[in-house]
């Protein structure tokens, strides 16, 4: 134990602490760089929402309503409600719904989808997901993006 180390008295030398802090820093830096690299490689961060999305009371949405909330778009026609998870299946951007044309268009690369999320034009090749709808305890209409349903699905 050298002169400097004696100040600690507990047997843990200053050099040892500095080395440990150095390795801790290297470890944290490596973890940070790996995380950034992983996020970069995994593509767009606009992942579908994992939590249910609450759209309020069903009677608040008249026939023909189109309501967007937290990457989920709720529609209502004569047959009932359906909800599209508006995340482009190409690189994960958020397509906008064009009311006049009745289609989704992605701002990043121009992929187009119909109102039920089916691909109309690429570069996307997969349809967007439809989320299951349920009524919760307060009578609100809730979309569950993790529970996917098939095109043609209607609720209520």
């Amino acid at each position: 134990m050298d002169q400097e180390d004696k100040h600690f008295g507990s047997g843990i030398g200053r050099r040892k602490i500095l080395f440990s802090l150095g390795w801790l820093f290297v470890g944290l830096a490596s973890a940070g760089v790996s995380w950034i690299g992983g996020r970069f490689l995994s593509g767009n961060e606009n992942l579908p929402p994992s939590r249910p999305v609450n759209f309020g009371l069903p009677e608040d949405h008249p026939l023909g309503a189109v309501v967007r909330k937290d990457k989920v778009v709720l529609f209502r026609d004569k047959a009932g409600f359906w909800a599209v998870t508006a995340v482009c299946t190409h690189l994960g951007c958020q397509p906008a719904f064009l009311q006049e044309q009745g289609i989704f268009e992605c701002p990043c690369h121009g992929s187009r989808f119909d109102a039920e999320g089916r691909v109309l034009a690429g570069p996307a090749t997969k349809d967007m997901d439809l989320a299951a709808l349920r009524i919760d305890g307060q009578g609100s209409l809730v979309a569950y993006p993790k529970d996917k349903v098939r095109p043609g699905y209607r609720f209520g």
């Binding site: 950034i36 970069f40 490689l41 995994s42 593509g43 767009n44 690189l91 994960g92 990043c108």
Partner: protein, 208 residues
């Protein structure tokens, strides 16, 4: 002084204390090599999204900048590491000249270093061209025409790089292969030889 740790292996076996003291010009070669590693890692990641076609190049860079998480950061790190590497290599060469370390017995390693400098400049330029916009397209045009003026080998060199006498739609692919495969591969081989010669030739230039 005897260097027997791992990092010391890129230095001659025996050195005076004076030769390894930290100074303002210390480790410029090491800094250049570190930047090369940074460039290799970020370049490998960027290559996943870059499309080496005339139309795809612009779309790929747009995605990296605006769609991919940390894409802009990754591209900025790659860009600035490239600029810093050119500066580090130049300063390293200037220090070698000032220290007289280009003279025998280290004259061969000086030539290897010069080859590395040309490779660094070539990699910097080929990376710049990969943007494939109006600015870089014409820059490539000018540089390739200048290459064609080099005596004896110029014309062949120009043909080999462009795949013809003029820049065509295969230009991005050609520069992509040069920038991502040929250039870094050659550089790594030269760097390994450069390091080995540093150790073998002995002595280090007097630091400032």
């Amino acid at each position: 002084m005897r260097l027997d740790n791992f990092l010391g292996h890129i230095h001659p076996v025996k050195l005076s204390e004076e030769r390894v003291r930290i100074s303002s010009t210390f480790c410029l070669g090491g800094a250049a090599f570190f930047l090369f590693i940074v460039l290799a890692i970020t370049g490998l990641l960027l290559a996943v999204y870059y499309l080496p076609t005339a139309e795809g190049a612009r779309a790929g860079i747009h995605d990296i900048d605006y769609v991919i998480p940390f894409g802009r950061l990754m591209r900025s790190i790659h860009f600035w590491a490239g600029q810093l590497m050119v500066a580090a290599v130049l300063l390293h060469a200037a220090r070698v000249v000032a220290a007289g370390a280009y003279m025998p017995p280290k004259h061969l390693n000086w030539l290897v270093g010069m080859a590395l400098f040309i490779l660094t400049a070539g990699l910097d330029f080929s990376g710049y061209v990969l943007r494939w916009d109006a600015q870089t397209f014409w820059a490539a045009q000018v540089v390739c025409q200048l290459l064609g003026e080099v005596p004896v080998i110029g014309c062949g060199l120009q043909q080999a790089i462009l795949g013809g006498s003029e820049i065509s739609e295969v230009g991005p692919l050609r520069f992509y292969v040069i920038h991502c495969m040929m250039g870094p591969g050659l550089m790594l081989a030269f760097v390994m030889y450069h390091f080995w010669r540093v150790r073998r030739d002995g002595k280090l230039g007097q630091p400032f």
